[in-house]
Symmetry: none
Subunit: 414 residues, 2 copies
């Protein structure tokens, strides 16, 4: 067998439900996508339940599954993944949080969980908080994330992640800031909760006095005078794919969380200005970068976020247009790569436009290229792929199926 490589396109949140305004079709079914349909017709198709049937997953868990990991073994909250994405290198013992810059009134009630969707000045605010001491030998590392987000890491001895959030969450955006509580009776959980509550007080003092906020107030904007914390986790133990399978894997994406996961998984990650993780991302540039990676990688993931945004934004026509653009991008790859290649496509979860959030429906997949046992499915869609030759797979099963087709799946037994 000649050396084979795989390109796997991940259309974030692509899976959907039938939509009345699309004549009962899903955005994928409604989209004109000659390249994707031809690949599905010549390949094998199926449905992938990322984790387990019916269980909605986040972008982080969905990608962990597509990358072959068991989330029960490696996942420990999104905080650590966001910290990686923000450029913080965790060490064992760190507890990492997702943070929001928020606006809080004098009584500790939340005025806005996102400080009026602040975009400017968060790097300076983060710098003002970075390194503050929380007592008990614990210090905080803080980095700004995209828009109103921040990555917060507590570093010190004997910390544990079994603690609640100070952020009341999107369901209760105007509630009081919650006191962080230990979720276990361990000393470590109590120490972490105390540090988190101290962090809130100190951060509020520092931020309220900060020139960025004084200017915001003067300009009639909501001050980012607090940091809400959620999703505490410790450094996940993700063994790199290179070590586990001798696999050279690459990833092209414009989204921080996905890029962070790729880095943790030992992939060569590529992102460039112009890859925005939004509707205006440069798919032509992504295609070119993917082709470059294929030169010396066994498996290259090409991630596009915009399909998920359209799902969250309840825009089925927009979602179909994103899929049509992805179809063009795949055509560009096929036109510019001449070696034996398997092309696969998947999604990290469903984000139905009617619901605007992640759901637990499986996602349609295809694998097309040399050595594949074909089926008689002729178009790429949620319902056609339900009859496909791959049947119903887990995300991990799909990953091992890809590895198997390029001779990289380790044999069990002899």
């Amino acid at each position: 067998m000649e050396r084979r490589r795989i390109l796997c396109v991940i259309a974030d949140g692509m899976g959907d439900r039938p939509i009345p305004t699309l004549a009962g079709r899903t955005p994928l079914e409604a989209a004109k996508k000659p390249n994707l349909d031809r690949l599905a017709e010549r390949g094998i198709t199926g449905l992938v339940h990322l984790f387990r049937p019916g269980v909605p997953v986040g972008t982080d868990v969905g990608h962990l599954c597509l990358f072959g990991y068991d989330p029960l073994q490696v996942y420990s909250g999104r905080g650590p993944i966001e910290a990686y994405g923000a450029g913080l290198t965790l060490v064992p013992g760190d507890v990492a949080w997702r943070g929001n810059f928020a606006t809080v009134d004098g009584e500790g009630h939340i005025v806005d969980r996102r400080a009026g969707r602040i975009r400017e000045g968060t790097a300076e605010l983060a710098r003002a908080l970075d390194g503050i001491e929380l007592g008990d030998g614990v210090s905080a590392l803080v980095r700004a994330g995209t828009e109103h987000r921040a990555a917060v890491v507590f570093r010190g001895a004997g910390l544990e992640a079994a603690v609640s959030d100070s952020d009341p969450g999107a369901a209760h955006p105007r509630d009081p800031v919650k006191e962080v509580q230990p979720r276990s009776s361990s000393e470590g959980a109590q120490r972490t909760a105390a540090a988190a509550n101290r962090f809130f007080v100190v951060a509020q003092e520092v931020l309220s006095a900060h020139p960025v906020n004084q200017q915001r107030v003067a300009a009639g904007l909501m001050p980012a005078n607090a940091v809400l914390l959620r999703s505490a986790g410790v450094m996940p133990a993700i063994p790199p794919l290179t070590e586990m399978y001798g696999l050279r894997a690459g990833l092209v994406s414009g989204e921080d969380t996905v890029l962070a996961l790729g880095t943790m998984a030992g992939m060569t990650v590529v992102t460039r200005p112009g890859m925005t993780g939004s509707y205006d991302t440069d798919l032509g540039l992504k295609a070119r970068c993917a082709v470059e990676l294929l030169a010396d990688h066994d498996l290259v993931y090409l991630h596009v976020k915009a399909s998920d945004l359209a799902g969250h934004d309840n825009k089925p026509e927009e979602k179909a247009r994103v899929i049509e653009a992805i179809d063009g991008m795949v055509g560009q790859v096929l036109a510019s790569y001449s070696e034996p290649l398997l092309v696969a496509m998947a999604a990290d979860h469903s984000t139905p436009c009617e619901y605007g959030e992640h759901t637990g429906e499986p996602v349609p997949v295809f694998i097309s290229g040399p050595g594949v046992r074909t089926d008689d499915v002729r178009t790429y869609g949620e319902r056609t792929c339900a009859r496909g030759g791959l049947g119903h797979l887990s995300g991990q099963g799909f990953f091992m199926t890809l590895l198997n087709l390029i001779g990289k799946a380790p044999k069990m037994g002899s």
Copy 2:
């Protein structure tokens, strides 16, 4: 319901991929197999992922799964299975290895991992090594296996199997003999590694001076002056099927590993001269023995190895011929057995001719006979069975499905 019995044919390594020289068909799809197609048409079909989707398995693990076991619970390396196959009865605490008689030069470099594929005299060489003391209260039991192979067991207190191989493996056939290293810091692993390294030295002394080797050297043949060790394991805890299910199971095979697994599983195993585990095996004799076993067994496995050899040898036409011969063998059974009978067929893994090694694709299966819920699949093949009524099963799931059809699957709950 009358008493029902099952014959399950196992075509080793039968699963394959589309092959250009067979007009894009697999060997199974290309073979003329009227009996198998009729059974599939009148029965229920599906795909079996022996262990998990995409994961290639060895003959040992594949059969463990078909026999209903969870390899994670019972599998501990092929060494113990080969020891059983060579007639050594293990006791708890033994560490068993697969051994090769090999030719090594004065510097400890391997000249040939198989001592010129030695066939004659290995029983005498094994006897010369059997019972040698390795210090620390550890002794070695040694038996010759087929051709250049040997089974080696270390017996003594406090041994563990977490050690590396001395055999550099088929990928590095001319490398130096490797020192066996403990894979854990435990005292038991260190003791086993020390015994293995001592075994190599003592065996080399004994073998170099042995008349069999002096005659080989005089005849210009490579001396079998060393034993390479690999796949250390401890006695697997395989509860017999008789005990677990009150099942009387039988097995007809010409292959040592499969026969050993059958014995460990508590089956009545039948092998005869003429059952060679190769292309020239006597399928008519196998059919007659299977029919005899059906007289007083609930479930009889009929194993044929040749389909796997054709896959390893990259011979799709030969593989199709083997399947046609199996079809004739099944016809012979059906013609000579008149009681109510379910006939099933499976494989222990795929061995695609284009690849020449085991791969992780699922294998096609059918079950045909009284009580079966039929489907509309009309021929037996990798792609037709993907639409079958059994769906996608694990090897264990397939085993329980067979047991269920003969009323032998234990009920959970009441």
